[in-house]
Amino acid sequence: MKKIILSAFAISALTLVSCNTDFERDVNNMTVSTGKADFSKFVSVGNSLTSGFRDGALYLDGQNESFPSMIAKQMGLAGGTQTFTQPLMPNNVGGFKDLFAASGNTEFYGKLTLSPTLSPTPSAPGANLDVIGGTGKYFNNMGVPGAKSFHLVTPGYGSAANLAVGKANPYFVRFATSATTTVLADAAAQKPSFYTLWIGNNDVLSYATSGGSGVDRKGNLDPSTYGSNDISDPNVVANVIKTVITSLKTANANSKGAIANIPYVTSIPYFTTVPAKPITGLSATQITQLNAAYAAYNAGLGQAKTANLISEAEFNQRRINFNSGFNGAVIVDKDLTNLSGLGLPSLRQTTANDLILLPALTLLRDTTIKGGTATPLADKYVLSEKEAAKVIAATDAYNASISSLATAYGLALVDANGKMKELGRAAGIQYNGVKYTASFVTGGAFSLDGVHPNGRGYALIANTFIDAINKTYGSTLPWVDINAYSGVTFP
């Protein structure tokens, strides 16, 4: 018996020795590998998304949470003395006082902040445009807010003199090495061993955020003829991206990189916050009044149809009717047949396939203006189904080129579009218990401008880049902790 008991204890002791109380691999002792990549000189090329722009402005805290700066930090874990310089703004508000005044107080304001009633409100700009670049002054973060693809290769885009004539970008004027250089030239001069390239967003975005007020330039290969709200031709975008890749290859034959595709505008709160049929809860009196007010317009449409000026389909599309359920907002749609000869404006109600833009929210809520009912929403407040289709078609074409260029040059392809779609689902993206969605203000991932991510959204993007880099080059860069970055600042 004694033996049995002792054996039992002996077995217990052995069990203890054999059971693993410690981590098999402790993260504090794990090394980060660069794989086939060389992260010693990392340069990021792109637009506002690369710069860390958010809340409608470029400001210090945002820049310090730019996705390239996050990636650079993780690259630093692989060893080497990695420095990642950014053209930091001189304050934490952003905007440019002088350009704000010159624009008639419409552009270059400071960051948006939430009022106590949760309306994003622009701050006064923080300072005048400050030039921090010049000969020999290079920055690893070459993100230029507002840049379209072809701007990367446009000489004079950083020339202060060109600002007045609208041919330069103040953000590049700040840090260009010369008045004649290009964004690409300044990037290539740094001979990056590794780069990220995310460009093409603004080639569709400005069209979309202007409610489709520009022109789809498909087939026009001369970007110098484009207006600021036009959709760039897909070949123009593809050629620029190819030029960037080959130029960086020429600058450093061993360069490697990651290139991201373009998210659909339908994934971002600027286009998804306002429901397509936003007019609800009308009283019987209101319904009667509204329908009476539009009766003459509807009657006019009937006459136009009889006169064969518009089709049956357009007649039905344009007829305005309010009921007690969910109603489309009355909008001006420039794509409708012009019936001004009959004294009829180009009005219709939105359908489930129209995207009403975020700025329309205040008009819809304004009880004096009565946007969408008594006062039609202007064309610029709506990306119509037809306009949205052009944006999606162009985005698809850009993304097809980005994908094939990534394959052709062996670059890591970052599916930013896929990740943003995932975020846009009702289920969103869970991370350590936090549910991130594309909801405006409360979704946790987007900043107050409804277009750019906040710190946590940029961290999600950084991790998407890191996944693609690790997959392509066999490196083991760790993710950043999304929850550790800043979200929306509440009042």
Partner: protein, 413 residues
């Protein structure tokens, strides 16, 4: 060999974190022998088996004791290569018991214990802060009991359980820039215990006991949002008062437990004990918080938040021994293996749980009617994978735990 083992155990001087939030620390003497149950020397048997009080050698017996429980949990993410440790305060489970023989056949007793509880404190800004920053659970069991002795070798006992409890849970509400506190200090519940105690021969004890589940009902819970702006609080999205408060109700099961215990006296000085426990954790399949107004739920009714827990029934195996080194001094040793009540995919950082091997040791000394017991236990929880898909919380976790106990018994007459 014996000496080596004793030395190892004493050096280890140890204790452990039980499965789920069951804290098996209801007797210092018992703990020293792996918290085995079939020991009727004094009133501390009362919690383990109400029938056992019939076999206490004295007419009146009192037992009191307390523990210091030190624990630390570490989580590491293989994705970010970051690790986080808890800053848990020292836990202090307590117990007291009294037993009295009314007649030769009838005994009554009262046991007061803290059998369930847990305090887990992570840093306020750790990566899992949305799930938990701090979670404190406490329970008190008040168990009056009566035992009937059929004859010299068999008794039956029953107890009624009245339980009081509190929950205090802080978590971040990351996307609204604030925190949420879930608090109820006045949860109550009730249950019962029943047991048989047998002494078929002078050197064999057999204890069979069942303690029912106690469903703790939090009827007057208060949920408090802090740091969330008023416009968000009162918006339809959240729909709580401008003071950030809302009421909630919830139920938390303190699960049932089956125990079979055996003690065999090999010699008059030397006994061995073994126990098997079966814990009904399956009952904790989900946690439902029903808010009065707050729209923070995930059901059709947006005031109802259901979090999956998916616990499974768990077992504990215990083996312990006592050797009377002198007439008055007892040396004790034990080992037990405690199963975690959930799988890797259900790991939750507010109730970290591990399969654990625990080594126990202790001494008891009799000063006449007064007995003083010391116990120590060191737990060796197995490091585990964390793969909670519901929270998308992944990585690995490990823990350390140690328990020290000091108990007194007084067998009056």
């Amino acid at each position: 060999m014996k000496r080596i083992l004793i030395t190892t155990a004493l050096l280890a001087g140890v204790f452990s974190y039980a499965g789920g939030f069951r804290v098996s620390l209801q007797g210092v003497k018992q703990l020293a022998m792996a918290h085995t149950s079939a020991h009727t020397e004094d009133a501390s048997i009362a919690f383990f088996n109400p029938a056992g009080i019939s076999f206490i050698p004295n007419k009146l017996s009192v037992a009191v004791g307390g523990f210091g429980a030190i624990s630390e949990v570490e989580y590491q993410s293989l994705e970010t290569l970051q690790s986080y440790k808890t800053e848990n305060p020292v836990g202090t489970p307590l117990y007291a018991a009294i037993a009295y023989k009314v007649t030769n056949n009838v005994s009554v007793g009262l046991s007061v214990t803290t059998p369930f509880g847990s305090t887990v404190k992570w840093a306020d800004d750790w990566t899992g802060r949305e799930v938990v920053q701090k979670m404190e659970l406490k329970s008190f069991y008040f168990q009056p009991m009566v035992s009937y002795k059929f004859n010299d070798w068999a008794s039956i006992g029953v107890s009624y359980i009245y339980a009081k409890g509190m929950v205090d849970w802080d978590k971040a509400v990351t996307n609204l820039g604030g925190t949420l506190n879930i608090n109820d200090e006045k949860a109550t519940g009730s249950g019962f215990g029943v047991g048989f105690y047998l002494k078929p021969s002078s050197n064999l004890d057999l204890s069979i006991a069942y303690r029912s589940a106690v469903i703790m009902k939090a009827e007057n819970g208060v949920a408090t949002f802090t740091g969330v702006p008023e416009a968000v609080l009162t918006s339809p999205q959240l729909n709580v008062g401008a003071d950030g408060q809302d009421a909630f109700t919830a139920e938390l099961p303190l699960v049932d437990e089956y125990t079979i215990g055996l003690t065999y006296k090999i010699t008059p000085k030397w006994l061995v004990s073994a126990d098997f426990n079966y814990h009904g954790w399956e009952r904790y399949s989900k946690l439902t918080l029903d808010f009065e107004n707050a729209q923070v739920g995930n059901q059709a009714d947006k005031t109802v938040l259901v979090s999956p827990k998916n616990f499974k029934n768990a077992k504990t195996f215990r083996i312990g021994t006592q050797y009377m080194l002198t007439d008055k001094l007892a040396g004790r040793l034990g080992y037990y293996f405690d199963e975690s009540p959930y799988e890797d995919k259900y790991f939750i950082p507010e109730t970290p749980s591990f399969d654990a091997s625990v080594v126990t040791a202790g001494l008891g000394y009799k000063f006449g009617k007064l007995g003083v017991d010391l116990a120590a236990a060191l737990s060796f929880p197995q490091a585990r994978q964390v793969d909670n898909a519901y929270l998308n919380f992944k990585g690995q976790a490990k823990a350390k735990a140690m328990y020290l106990g000091l108990g007194f018994t007084y067998n009056a007459f």
